[in-house]
Symmetry: C2
Subunit: 441 residues, 2 copies
């Protein structure tokens, strides 16, 4: 009796969760899918778990007292402006300062061609919105940033991956892919690339290839969308020259203060050829009217009054130490048959598992052993990546990184024994795009 | 010779502005069109012009010293959280507080069904994104909010206006419109309505009609999107009961802190049936990953520590005084044949010009006489509204409002003389949706 009652309650509860609107969504809503591993990441955020999953910058390294004074000062001196609506294109002074930041990567641009966005994620969304009709092709590195793949999917783009190696995108593969697609009548709208300290692969497009990639795209009439959130976080020498620096009319450049200052302000930007910029501003106004004046002015005040180049240096040193901790402990702990990239900047290492192992199948076991990573399949839109995983070193402190790698190595060892005993590891999960939680940025 | 050179230079300059990407935009980009009157509004922002155009709240009435302390305190006490990425759905504490705010309008809801957005404009964008395929129908009051029409247009919706009078949307017209459209096979995705202190009309849906509108939409299976930025800014008595209060499964409610606190934080929200909420969170993550944690926590801190209900009362009294200044001076100065609405809250009065006058044609002359308004055509997607204009009383002080109305009356008088002498006023401009600048919110 009690049992029946409980059962009745459960059905009613489930009933109320049935989607009355299921037949009414737009076709594009089918492309918005929650990550299968999302529930696991909720567990992974517990303090006892070492998360090598998230892409959260280590904002604790900021001078918080200075930031506090600065925002108070902003309200005192410019309150009525900071609290009001702003322009759709973004604060003009901040756009000037953004041009100064981009100059470090060889970019010469005017503030008039910059649009401030809600993180560079929004720049991605708006660029996709103005260029992509359902079925249009976006080229992207394989693997590529999970948040970009989610956005392309939401606009019903067809993502075609282009092969990369430890020097970044392979120009011959790019040329062949473009040729094959255009011959087949596909409409390629742009190449989406993260040339520097790529997410998730951690590799960087070399200088010779940069010129080749630009030439190939120019010749084929393919716009380049250069996503560059990590460009100033290199561990060796001067910042690399951006693709945009050598092709102002063929490249839309996306930048962000999320990794060089703080993601909590959500200030990113797009630098675009003039006509594209016009469309971006209209799309921006239609999407959110305008970005927060408050956070824009806070970033502007920070750049104007603080030694921001020094702060970036602090971040670089911090992340280099963590990269070293990750690479060294991989060397020490990982079983034979594992290989990984060696990033010269940014946040991520891309690891390849021994033959027959599936990273998504490993994840629940890893979380049970108190370590988390992102399975490789999230970074492909074609089901690839099962043998890979992304390891982030940006957030945990070096000792925690070493402990996390030790735990992960144990899980992989066990899986290898399983494979060697039974011929295969745990069954593969269904592959697909994992819409990222924000902490996977 | 010099002339030829100059001509050559001009051509080169124009040439560099030719859009190399003109053939490559998505079909939806054609729906993103800049306002024809945008250039005039740039002029209208000069201090000598009385702007009755913008919908900017009077943030100077906020206790700026308190806000300054509050944001400094936020960084000091919760800096590493406030500066970090947040969840796509928004800060859980803020979502609880939002439920408390909505309780003032009779809404009982759980924080789990709230999604925090970049102003309620983004909530509108995301709702449109998940429901609208090209050609789908959105019902909206005629006139309706220009920013919503711009968003619907950007997603290639077909907007069908439903007639309203001084008691809001006319239920019979709504029922007839739905019947005619559904009989003709149109897919109506939702009714977009601003039931309380409507933008731009300044009218409010009465209580009897609220029930009727809900019943009509329930019967026809049409979702209601209730946009309610002004609901707490009524001049008489208690806040009205929201539509959502009486139909949790049939209404998506959009709210905002832009008018009750400050637009510069860009914090709005959607409250949606559970399944729709799931889709909204995915769309939010795909669009911007997450909203600014900093501004969300700042709003949360404000609500937790400040007498926000008292502050809303201050705003109400301030706007009532300005509403009175506008209505009284319209009475005093406007020539016979003009009529206007009498808002009981919010920011706007909707004025109807005498027969034969066109508000868009009047605007350049008005700006020359140092007064600005928004022509009525922007609030219709079908070319209607030429005989109307929106007058805002939210931003200028009462004396300025009176002076602005005096100037505007003079311009209308002149136009009437022209009409009576020549049979018609200035030629009509081409009508169409004017994508709003943010100051037209």
């Amino acid at each position: 009796m009690t049992h029946e009652l409980d059962h009745g309650r459960m059905s009613a509860a489930q009933g109320s969760r049935i989607d009355a609107y299921i037949d009414r969504y737009a076709a594009r809503a089918a492309g918005m899918v929650a990550s299968e591993v999302r529930a696991l990441f909720a567990v992974a955020s517990r303090p006892e778990v070492v998360s090598l999953a998230g892409g959260m910058p280590y904002v604790t390294a900021l001078p918080l007292d200075v930031v506090g004074e600065l925002v108070a000062d902003l309200v005192a001196k410019r309150g009525p402006v900071a609290l009001q609506y702003g322009s759709g294109q973004g604060d003009p002074d901040l756009r000037e300062q953004i041009c100064e930041v981009m100059r470090m990567e060889g970019i010469e641009a005017g503030a008039d061609d910059v649009v401030v966005t809600v993180g560079s994620q929004q720049a991605l969304d708006l660029i996709t919105r103005i260029f992509i009709d359902p079925g249009d092709v976006v080229l992207a590195e394989g693997p590529s940033y999970v948040g970009a793949l989610g956005t392309f999917s939401a606009y019903q783009a067809k993502v075609v991956h282009v092969a990369m190696d430890d020097q970044g995108l392979i120009p011959e593969s790019l040329a062949q892919t473009i040729y094959a697609l255009q011959t087949a009548g596909s409409r390629i709208k742009f190449l989406y690339t993260i040339p520097t300290f790529q997410n998730p692969a951690g590799v960087t497009l070399n200088e010779v290839r940069r010129r080749q990639v630009l030439e190939i795209c120019q010749r084929a009439g393919v716009l380049v969308v250069e996503d560059n959130p990590y460009g100033l976080l290199g561990f060796d020498g001067e910042p690399l020259r951006a693709l945009r620096a050598d092709d102002p009319e063929g490249v839309v450049y996306l930048g962000s203060f999320s990794k060089t200052l703080a993601p909590g302000f959500r200030v990113g930007w797009a630098l675009a050829p003039h006509a594209v910029r016009d469309k971006l501003v209209l799309a921006m106004e239609s999407a959110v009217l305008s970005h927060s004046t408050f956070t824009q002015l806070a970033v502007g005040q920070y750049l104007a009054s603080q030694p921001w180049r020094e702060q970036i240096k602090t971040f670089r040193e911090l992340y280099r130490e963590r990269r070293d901790a990750l690479l060294n402990s991989l060397e020490v702990f990982m079983p034979a048959g594992c290989s990984w990239t060696r990033p010269a900047g940014g946040f991520f290492v891309w690891m390849t598992l021994p033959e027959g192992l599936d990273s998504k199948a490993l994840l629940p076991r890893a979380v049970a052993e108190r370590v988390a990573f992102v399975p490789g399949t999230g970074f492909y839109s074609d089901g690839g990546g099962a043998q890979h995983m992304r390891l982030s070193y940006c957030y945990p402190e070096p000792d925690r990184i070493r402990e996390g790698v030790r735990r992960l190595a144990g899980v992989i060892e066990q899986e290898l024994q399983l494979r060697d005993t039974f011929g295969t590891g745990t069954a593969r999960w269904h592959a697909g795009i994992d819409t990222p939680g924000p902490d996977l940025a």
